[in-house]
């Protein structure tokens, strides 16, 4: 058994920790930087910004992504915006308020110092992106515009229509391109990391499959940066891209990296409801819609039933028979209550039999009032592309009839454990963006994911990576080391094993089965009995997978079934850990809602005495129960309190 390393949070007052850390950390001299080779896996906001910034400083960088171009990483799909404590609106915002909102939004389950640093660098992110030519929304006077997002009472969200993630990613992609052109970054698209190579306890490289030729190659580096996103696709249906997977972080976990808080998943309240078995993914519509849209269901189940059956139009429901349940339950935040709370409220309304989609799982998001107040043109300017998207998918016009929405898996707050320097317990292995666990606690606020990805890549890792690099000599291990050969062989053996099964069921059928189980037992609400049954069931699905999955084709060509099979095989192991984590956390907090632990009015009931800690899981070998480490969270600047948005 290993021990959980120190979190390396600097001492001293909260608001000067980061400054002091930067002032006292070791540096690498410019002429020495080129001797270090950094492997960056993933080219989303975190990966692209890290690769570009490190290359600019003079390090040698290799960057890998599974898509055909770095520009397609799933950060691109983020819609609503990015938070920054600029206080351009003069509405009382500050670094402290952004910090406080984020740590409160995370239900006091994040590390104070990390969150404060995030708020501190938030302003510089906006400056950086503006300088890159990111076309943020502007006011007529030419200054940057802001909008409001859930969980905040100030307007601090910067945006580029409903395509903020796209524009920020293209900014980072352009910075990356400049470095690729200059030869400082070597880019490997259509390349999937399949394992981590650890030599003498240090992360020293990765094994990668070329998705076009099937070639499996090894790459050695002085540090490995995993920027590989979250694990939302363990649910099969999520708002993630189809290719998003847990393989990189899970493989690192099996090589010794601790996985922290895997049970923290975010269910986003405003997604388009599921319509059938064929469904391959769920589509999110920006939370910013809740600025102008009102969420409601009918007060009575019989009215809801008429709507479900198409016997009544939503506009026929009189005002007095509508339940604007968010406005009713949370008057001070109303429709802008945080995601976890809004999602659970939608589930409750549907569990009451008041859901309005044909499946019973859906609530209305109604723009009629805002259209009356501001005119359709203004609403179109604010959210035009989202209305278009809604119509493309559902065939309905959101201006004329209320949209139907339902919560869907969207983001995962858990991830590999990292210290203040973003380094995992494996020296040399750093984890950035959604792939780590560090900043969002048990629930992430809207417009904070983009902020974190870019904070980690542009501003944190360039200052914290040298802390590790200064202690090693560059280029010590090459791919001729026996450990590289061993891991490479293991990867080949895994691929051959998958191809040799030749059973009867498709990869997707297993993925769907796993996803349904996890959604049912470890989704919006969890309980002991359900989690225990899932922990028993997942290994059975896994066992059948290895006996009965059918993968056509060979390993030496573009083979999408094989790619999927490798990812699903890892989800089938990861899903079990997720349920174990949810079972062990005997409290409700943020996105983790255990039915046994709730207040009389159905709100999450935290247990700060026993659970104000990070759970970091250690892999202890195949078939062995993983070990749960605890990192106690110390709160110095904020007082733990019951989160209230009423």
């Amino acid at each position: 058994m290993s021990t959980l390393p120190d979190s390396k949070v600097p001492s001293g007052p909260l608001d000067s920790k980061w400054e002091r850390h930067k002032n006292t950390s070791k540096l690498i001299a410019p002429n020495n930087r080129r001797k270090f080779e950094i492997l960056v896996v993933g080219s989303g906001l975190a990966g692209a910004s890290a690769a570009a910034s490190l290359a600019e400083l003079g390090y040698g960088v290799k960057c890998f992504c599974y898509q055909d171009s770095a520009r397609r990483a799933h950060s691109i799909a983020a819609q609503g915006g990015i938070n920054a404590a600029k206080n351009y609106q003069n509405d009382g915002d500050s670094v402290f308020r952004l910090f406080y909102d984020t740590i409160k939004g995370g239900d006091f389950r994040a590390r104070e110092a990390n969150v404060h640093r995030l708020a501190e660098v938030s302003g510089a992110i906006i400056d950086q992106c503006v300088a890159q030519g990111v076309p943020f929304a502007r006011e007529y006077g030419g200054l940057l515009a802001n909008r409001s997002f859930g969980g905040a009472q100030v307007s601090r969200t910067f945006y580029a229509r409903g395509q903020t993630g796209q524009q920020l990613l293209l900014g980072a992609y352009s910075a990356l391109n400049k470095e690729i052109a200059g030869g400082a970054v070597k880019m490997f698209p259509r390349s999937e990391m399949l394992d981590l190579v650890v030599v003498d306890g240090h992360a020293r490289g990765i094994v990668v499959r070329d998705m076009v030729t099937g070639e499996i190659s090894s790459h050695a580096g002085d540090a490995v940066l995993l920027c590989t996103g979250g694990y939302g696709n363990v649910f099969y249906l999520s708002t993630n891209a189809k290719g998003c997977n847990v393989t990189a972080t899970w493989r690192a976990h099996k090589r010794g990296a601790f996985f922290a808080n895997p049970c923290y998943t975010q269910i986003h309240p405003t997604c388009i409801p599921v319509s059938g078995d064929y469904q391959s993914k769920l589509t999110l519509m920006s939370e910013s819609l809740r600025n102008d849209g009102r969420v409601w269901v009918p007060k009575d189940p019989p009215t809801a039933e008429k709507i479900r059956k198409g016997q009544m139009r939503p506009s026929d429901v009189p005002e007095s028979e509508r339940d604007y349940y968010l406005e009713r339950k949370y008057p001070s935040y109303g429709n802008l209550a945080p995601r976890d709370i809004s999602s659970r409220a939608a589930k409750e309304a549907c569990d009451d039999g008041r859901g309005i989609a044909p499946t019973g799982l859906g609530v209305f998001l109604d723009f009629a009032d805002s259209i009356r107040r501001f005119g359709q043109k203004t609403i179109e300017e604010r959210y035009g592309n989202l209305f278009v998207m809604y119509q493309q998918i559902t065939g309905q016009n959101g201006y004329e009839t209320p949209m139907m929405i339902y919560p869907a898996v969207h983001y995962t707050m858990g991830g590999l454990w990292v210290d203040y320097n973003l380094m995992s317990n494996l020296p040399g292995l750093h984890v950035l963006g959604e792939a780590n666990f560090s900043d969002h606690g048990a629930n992430r606020l809207g417009a904070s994911a983009l902020m974190q990805g870019l904070a980690d890549g542009y501003f944190v890792i360039p200052s914290t990576l040298p802390v590790y690099l200064a202690g090693i000599s560059p280029g010590k291990v090459t791919i001729d080391h026996p450990e590289f050969k061993r891991v490479n062989e293991e990867v080949r053996a895994r691929t051959s094993r998958l191809l040799s099964i030749q059973g009867k069921r498709t990869v997707d059928s297993f993925h769907r089965e796993l996803g349904l189980l996890i959604w049912d037992k470890c989704g919006m609400a969890r309980d002991k009995a359900g989690l225990e049954s899932a922990i028993a069931k997942v290994p059975q699905i896994r066992a059948e997978f290895y006996e009965n999955v059918r993968i056509t084709g060979s390993g030496s060509e573009l083979n999408q079934s094989l790619e999927k099979a490798g990812r699903v095989a890892d989800f089938l192991e990861f899903g079990e850990l997720m349920c174990r984590d949810a079972l062990a956390r005997e409290e409700s907090c943020g996105g983790h809602f255990r039915s046994e632990y709730q207040t009389p009015d159905g709100e999450a009931l935290r247990n700060d005495e026993q659970f104000a800690h990070v759970a970091a899981w250690e892999h202890t070998g195949e078939g062995s129960v993983p070990h749960r480490h605890e990192e106690q969270l110390a709160f110095e600047a904020v007082q733990l309190q019951t989160r209230s948005y009423k």
């Binding site: 293209l170 064929y278 993914k281 998207m389 542009y458």
Partner: protein
């Protein structure tokens, strides 16, 4: 609905491909075009046949990874819609649908419907950026940009890099794609210092990659899922000509 697909099968870049007929019965109207292909693929796999390879990822119209030429049109019959956002309710029961990869020399087929679009990345690498060191930026509000200009730049920046413009063009021209990026930066104050160097480098790379020239067919504008307007091509030409002229005069 019951459909018949005529779909391009090609083992790899070295072998020849051909259109193969596949029956696709009992497809739900509500599913997307790619979900229809998922269903077809699962059926093929259940029979031990290799599924049809196609590119896709976000399935919400923004990543630009999905492609396909459907009944002769890149991204299919609907305007301002990517293949992943195209739904089967727009097709008729009993219809035969022809599905091919993008056809353009700079986009070689890798397998079935998957093509290699790295030429686009190389064009961007040639100059599609503003050189700004991380951390060296001034305050965001120190560069005021009028709303009209900012909106115009955003319209150009909305390009998703899918390559439909190239596939639709009889000349396999990439000028809509290049024009969008050049326009975004030519409009914005941040793009001014590298304005001329950028357009020359991007156009030269575009030519070297084998993309053709624009001869005003406007097919690109018609198929563009991000609704990039062909006036970015006019701006690209203007930017390029001015840059070359100034280069000649300054030499």
């Amino acid at each position: 609905m019951n459909l018949k697909l005529r779909i391009w099968r090609q083992k790899n870049a070295k072998t020849a491909g051909q259109l193969v007929e596949i029956d696709a019965p009992e497809i739900p109207d509500e599913c997307s075009f790619l979900e229809m292909l998922d269903i077809v693929n699962e059926r093929l796999e259940s029979k031990g046949e290799e599924p049809v390879a196609f590119d896709h990822d976000c399935r919400e119209g923004i990543c630009g990874m999905c492609s396909l030429v459907i009944n002769g049109e890149p991204h299919g019959p609907n305007r301002a819609t990517t293949t992943c956002q195209l739904h089967m309710r727009h097709f008729k029961d009993g219809e035969t649908i022809t599905v091919e990869p993008y056809r353009a020399e700079p986009f070689p087929v890798i397998r079935d419907l998957v093509v290699d679009r790295q030429a686009f990345d190389r064009i961007q690498q040639a100059g599609g950026y503003v050189s700004v060191r991380t951390g060296a930026a001034q305050d965001g509000n120190a560069i005021p940009i009028g709303k009209v200009v900012a909106d115009k730049a955003m319209e150009a920046a909305a390009c998703i890099g899918c390559g439909a413009c190239v596939a639709a063009c009889p000349n396999a021209s990439a000028m809509l794609f290049v024009g969008a990026r050049v326009s975004q930066f030519a409009l914005l104050p941040q793009g001014q210092p590298e304005r001329e160097r950028r357009v020359i480098a991007m156009v030269e790379t575009m030519d070297a990659e084998g993309f053709g020239n624009c001869s005003n067919h406007y097919e690109c504008e018609a198929v563009c899922p991000a609704e990039i307007k062909a006036d970015v091509i006019a701006r690209l030409n203007r930017e390029y000509n001015v840059a070359k002229l100034r280069q000649a005069v300054m030499a």
